[in-house]
Subunit: 83 residues, 2 copies
């Protein structure tokens, strides 16, 4: 069962796409990625272990509950692969 | 057209799977990931910007040409998503 669309999805979708199919250079696809990996990555972006300023800025104001909803959303999307 | 199977694939496949469908906790799926993102990630693991000792150890002895072949391989695999 797909999770409900997160309220903060637009924040991620600008670069990763609402369905997790990224169209921008250097931006990873998120659709169908492992949930545990997405959660770890978000923690690492937040605390600076993965030092990507745009990610840190984007998720700075997002609560842990909201981040978890976003990770669940993307993990549940169907991946598309590359053309 | 799918790239030829890289000689060093076994090094990655132990955790990420030969087709990029990871079965281990915390290990990302790589199948169908963007090629530019995979290349960037490998550089970051190699130089320590992404400080993951097992990744640094794994790719330390791998040449740039081999790394590129591995990134191309995984990017070209069909993603599977999560059950």
């Amino acid at each position: 069962q797909a999770p409900a669309r997160p309220a903060r999805l637009g924040l991620c979708a600008a670069c990763h796409g609402a369905n997790g199919h990224a169209g921008m250079p250097g931006v990873p696809h998120l659709a169908g990625q492992r949930l545990d990996y997405l959660r770890d990555a978000l923690k690492q972006y937040r605390d600076g272990r993965r030092n990507v300023p745009v990610m840190r800025a984007a998720i700075g104001p997002v609560s842990d509950v909201e981040l978890d909803a976003l990770a669940r959303w993307y993990s549940a999307q169907a991946p598309q692969g590359n053309p």
